[in-house]
């Protein structure tokens, strides 16, 4: 077992052999990956050393102190948070060796082709089709369909994709999971402008996109099971950011409150105090969840944190617009842009208020998450369902 002292010494060796001051950023990141110091809990040879996940902090502290460049995790969040854990769990050795290194280094950005116009909360009803090409010796798949809400599609090199491979089976059983080349000529990315004025998301049209069978992840028909790994990681990463007190949106409002006494009213103050309490409670709840994970007692609280985070962001940003009064009537800029990064807390109060509306929709709506908590955590029975044993092609749509 690799311990903290050994990791520290390996990190210093990396820094000695590739001094950040004289090494190019990408070269340094590649060397770090090859030394097993990218994500220490990953297997040896794939950027890790099979070490406990908690020891990553030891490596990160050494690297930060030495001024080493990082891989800009915000820019490649979908790859790191969703594609990588899924490839690690279900990929072949060839797939892991091909994809994980450029993903982690940031040379290849990933996006996620899951949701469709007709398959949102009911994702398993998706209709994008993948058909085996009879003429192809290698057994290529030909994919046709439309995906939506795809952040980073306009900068992505690869996509994780789920598509229907057998319409005669019930919906959960006829899906397969693919790694899709976004430079294929059949992939068309169109910006999807949202209520903030920007287009952080895209629509992706897939027309006769050719995917080699070697880029299938998991068995044919096992796509739903594989996708669960992706989705669980998405919710953990959305709800799990560690913050200091007043580190989130509440901090912005509290600062305005302190600096601008002329804006204060009694009614706003009661709401502010209640939200301050709830934000601090949510922070402690997330901290307790982290302590459980470190102690090896993972709790089900993770599913709940995204619910709390969504509601609080919406209420706090709404309060902020009201607090600003006359300024709350203004908006920074409606110019249509295609940002590379998702930004929940930036820009002005109006932007934050509008962007926060997505927090209870993206990554599983709050209503679906409440179902998940009720059924998987509390053990309450599910609603009666009439779609479980019906062939996908016979479902109402």
């Amino acid at each position: 077992m690799t311990d903290a002292a050994e990791l520290r010494s390996l990190t210093r060796k990396l820094l000695a052999e590739h001094p950040p001051a004289t090494t190019g950023r990408t070269d340094f990141l590649k060397a770090r990956f090859d030394a097993g110091l990218a994500w220490v809990h990953y297997p040896a040879g794939l950027g890790g050393l099979d070490a406990p996940r908690s020891l990553q902090a030891v490596v990160d502290a050494e690297l930060t102190a030495a001024g080493a460049p990082d891989n800009d995790p915000r820019r490649i969040g979908i790859g790191l948070g969703m594609a990588a854990p899924t490839i690690l769990r279900y990929g072949t050795q060839e797939q892991k060796e091909r994809f994980l290194r450029p993903l982690w280094v940031g040379e290849e950005v990933w996006c996620q082709l899951f949701s469709e116009p007709g398959a949102g909360s009911d994702l398993a009803a998706l209709g994008t089709r993948a058909v085996r090409d009879g003429d192809s010796a290698s057994g290529d798949w030909i994919v046709n369909g439309q995906k939506v809400w795809t952040s980073s599609a306009h900068v992505a090199r690869w996509a994780i994709l789920i598509a229907r491979t057998d319409p005669d089976l019930p919906k959960h059983r006829g899906i397969s999971y693919f790694l899709c080349d976004m430079t294929d000529p059949g992939v068309e990315v169109r910006p999807l402008r949202q209520i903030t004025g920007e287009a952080e998301f895209n629509e992706v049209f897939l027309t006769d996109v050719r995917i080699p069978d070697a880029h299938r992840l998991g068995e044919i028909g096992d796509g739903w099971k594989v996708a669960q790994t992706t989705l669980m990681n998405e919710r953990v990463s959305i709800g799990g950011a560690r913050l200091p007190r007043e580190g989130g949106m509440i901090g912005t409002v509290a600062r305005t409150w302190r600096e601008r006494p002329e804006l204060r009213t009694h009614e706003l103050r009661q709401r502010l105090l209640t939200l301050w309490v709830e934000a601090e409670v949510a922070r402690l709840t997330a901290e307790r969840l982290r302590q459980q994970l470190v102690a090896g007692q993972p709790g089900p609280e993770g599913s709940g944190m995204k619910l709390a985070f969504a509601r609080l962001n919406q209420e706090i940003s709404g309060l902020e617009v009201e607090l600003l009064g006359e300024e709350g009537l203004l908006y920074s800029d409606w110019t249509m842009r295609r940002p590379e990064l998702v930004d929940f807390t930036g820009r002005d109060a109006g932007y934050r208020y509008l962007r926060a509306k997505g927090n209870s929709i993206e990554g599983g709506t709050s209503e679906v998450l409440l179902n998940i908590v009720a059924e998987r955590v509390l053990g309450l029975p599910s609603e009666p369902r009439n779609d479980k044993d019906v062939a996908w092609k016979d479902l109402a749509r």
Partner: protein, 368 residues
């Protein structure tokens, strides 16, 4: 986790303590009998108290070993209170083993040789005697204290107390309840499991155990511990209400299906679950801050009291509603939790009072 982070988990020792208390409370749980006793004004189970205090040693958790206690702390006492809340037990634990004990420990600071205080602490630790601070249950840690002579109303567990700790202008006094000049007049409480009384004490009665202003500081410390650990009782109440509601709605069938399968109901329970896990983190944070003597303890306690009371009341109200008609009956225990939760919302200061304390601590002033 940095060194400064509070420990929000439960240790193995705390889990063992919880198991012992739960087992005792489960063995002695008899709601119909308890209700009859409670209506008669004496809900206390003497044998249960002996087992909890002397058998498990719960009453001495805050008391150092040299004074006959367990030398444990607030984190452990919080676990006991979670269990007492879960079982809505009538016992003078919060009043005697936490508030009065903490107040006496604060008095003991400069005069460790004070045999009066030390002797009383030993008796409280063993559970042989019960002491309560003669202030209204609604008194916040930074709230106004009784001025001295006259009647103090709303004193919790006074009917069960052997000793009253009485605040006067010139200090804190210990007064034997049985001594002449002491009247304890039972009141009719909303929460039958925590009896209240109006207490009148002759100004000449008792012995002085702390001089002002040390007395004031000691009383405030006792009330701060009480308010902080009340959050754990509230967590226990909420936890029981949620578990019982989930159990009921899984079994109860209407429209040919368990009512817990309807999203209109399950979403309410999932929401409650989120509140309960949040209350747990907040209550643990308060208990840990008190245990470590953190300078942030007043903030942690105010936060816990600004949040956890509402969660317990919400859980109890949902418990009544989602049980339908049965939840409205005297026979079903839901009303005991509702009454305890609603009373606890006022105990040791209201949510609004604690929010103001918090606002002062984190600099969120009102309009000019």
């Amino acid at each position: 986790m940095t060194d400064a982070s509070p420990d929000l988990l439960y240790s193995d020792t705390e889990d063992d303590l919880r198991a012992a208390v739960r087992s005792l409370l489960t063995d002695r749980a008899d709601v119909p009998a308890a209700l009859i006793l409670a209506e008669a004004g004496d809900p206390y189970d003497a044998e249960l108290w002996t087992s909890l205090a002397a058998g498990i040693g719960a009453s001495g958790l805050l008391v150092p070993e040299k004074l006959g206690g367990q030398g444990a702390g607030h984190r452990e006492a919080a676990v006991v209170l979670e269990e007492l809340g879960r079982a809505v037990t009538a016992a003078p634990y919060l009043t005697s083993s936490v508030v009065a004990t903490e107040t006496l420990l604060a008095c003991d600071g400069e005069s460790t040789e004070s045999t009066d205080v030390a002797g009383l602490l030993t008796a409280l630790a063993h559970g042989h005697r019960v002491a309560v601070l003669a202030v209204p249950l609604s008194t916040a840690p930074d709230g106004p204290l009784p001025a001295g002579a006259g009647t103090v109303t709303g004193v919790a567990d006074a009917v069960r107390a052997d000793v009253l700790l009485v605040v006067r202008h010139d200090g804190l006094y210990a007064v034997e309840t049985a001594s002449p000049g002491v009247t304890v007049e039972p009141l009719t409480p909303l929460d039958l499991t925590r009896p209240l009384a109006a207490v009148t004490v002759d100004p000449a009665a008792g012995i002085r155990i702390a001089e002002a202003p040390a007395a004031q500081a000691a009383v405030r410390r006792g009330l701060l511990a009480g308010a902080g650990l009340l959050a754990s009782e509230q967590l226990g109440i909420a936890e029981w209400c949620l578990e019982e509601t989930v159990r009921h709605t899984r079994e109860r069938k209407q429209f040919n299906r368990p009512i817990g399968s309807f999203q209109a109901l399950k979403h309410r329970m999932a929401q409650l679950w989120l509140e309960v896990v949040s209350a747990r983190a907040t209550a643990r944070n308060a208990a840990d801050a008190l245990a470590t003597g953190s300078p942030e303890a007043p903030l942690a306690v105010a936060l816990a009291q600004a949040y956890c009371g509402r969660v317990a009341v919400h859980a109890a109200e949902e418990c009544v509603q989602l049980h339908g008609g049965i939840g409205m009956t005297w026979e079903h225990p839901a009303h005991l939790y509702l009454k305890r939760a609603k009373s606890d919302e006022i105990a040791f200061g209201s949510k609004g009072r604690h929010q103001e304390t918090l606002a002062a601590l984190v600099d969120l002033p009102g309009p000019r």
